[in-house]
């Protein structure tokens, strides 16, 4: 693998970035359908958890679009989304363990994303790393 690159990629929507966008899309689909179902069928049971599911869904969609747009604005949007995501997954993960009574039902971010193979906690880190790797100097 002696792949020597003279130029570092500066586009967020090509190469590994496209894989990242694909995974973001999958999570956007998962979180959106989960939130829609939860809010439509049993909102009263755990309103906080379900609203957080909806927030997660919106963040995943906007992050995917931000990475896909690849311009300055897109990078800003993606940066904000990945940050919100990281804070969200860490915060909700910690809260869901410390105060399970607040989360009678699971969200995408519960238990640091344990229901989704912990990918929700890895994804924002990868997103931020990718944004940093493709930054312009």
């Amino acid at each position: 693998m002696a792949e020597v690159r003279t130029e570092r990629p500066t586009r967020t929507n090509a190469g590994p970035g496209r894989l990242l966008i694909a995974v973001y899309l999958l999570f956007a689909i998962a979180a959106t359908s989960r939130a829609a179902l939860q809010i439509a069928t049993r909102f009263d049971e755990a309103p906080l958890a379900y609203l957080l599911s909806a927030l997660a869904a919106v963040v995943y969609i906007v992050a995917a679009v931000g990475l896909g747009r690849a311009g300055h604005a897109g990078r800003r949007v993606a940066l904000a989304c990945c940050t919100v995501e990281l804070v969200g997954v860490l915060g909700v993960g910690a809260f869901s363990l410390a105060r399970p009574d607040l989360f009678p039902d699971e969200t995408v971010w519960s238990g640091f994303g344990s229901g989704y193979g912990y990918i929700p906690v890895v994804l924002p880190v990868l997103g931020l790393a990718w944004l940093w790797f493709t930054r312009r100097r």
Binding site: E3, A14, G15, P16, R18, L19, A22, V23, L25, L26, I29, A30, S33, A36, L37, A40, T41
Partner: protein, 128 residues
């Protein structure tokens, strides 16, 4: 096999899972070898899609026969998502004719078996 009526269990679901994992393994090898998605990956995705559509047809037949999924909302959500996954992988793979296209095919084909298993779980009533 306690497939007492579940249309999305047993051999068809097993075939979808095995096929999906085979395509994922093939795509992973291609990605590791710096290969763009090849014909085999695209054909694999197409066959996988046919198997998944077959699952949907089986579910439709069971529904027509008066059977009902345990969690209808989740079941139809998973089913709709499931049949969209191989086309999604195919489109993204065509957009990215590099090793990362193969990586996308691999990722989607690793998610598909999970959705197939969840689909089976939402058909059966799991006491809750």
């Amino acid at each position: 096999m306690s497939a007492a009526g579940s249309p999305v269990d047993g051999v068809p679901a097993g075939a979808a899972i095995v096929l999906s994992l085979l395509v994922a393994a093939w795509a992973l090898v291609a990605a590791l070898r710096h290969r763009a998605p090849d014909r085999i990956q695209l054909i694999g995705l197409a066959v996988l899609e046919l198997v998944l559509l077959g699952l949907a047809v089986l579910a439709g037949v069971a529904l027509a026969g008066g059977e009902r999924p345990g969690e209808p909302g989740a079941f139809f959500g998973y089913l709709a998502t499931l049949v969209c996954l191989p086309p999604l992988a195919g489109v993204l793979a065509r957009m990215e004719p590099t090793r990362w296209g193969s990586a996308i095919v691999c990722a989607v084909c690793l998610v598909t078996p999970v959705v197939v298993v969840r689909l089976g779980q939402t058909w059966e009533v799991l006491g809750g």
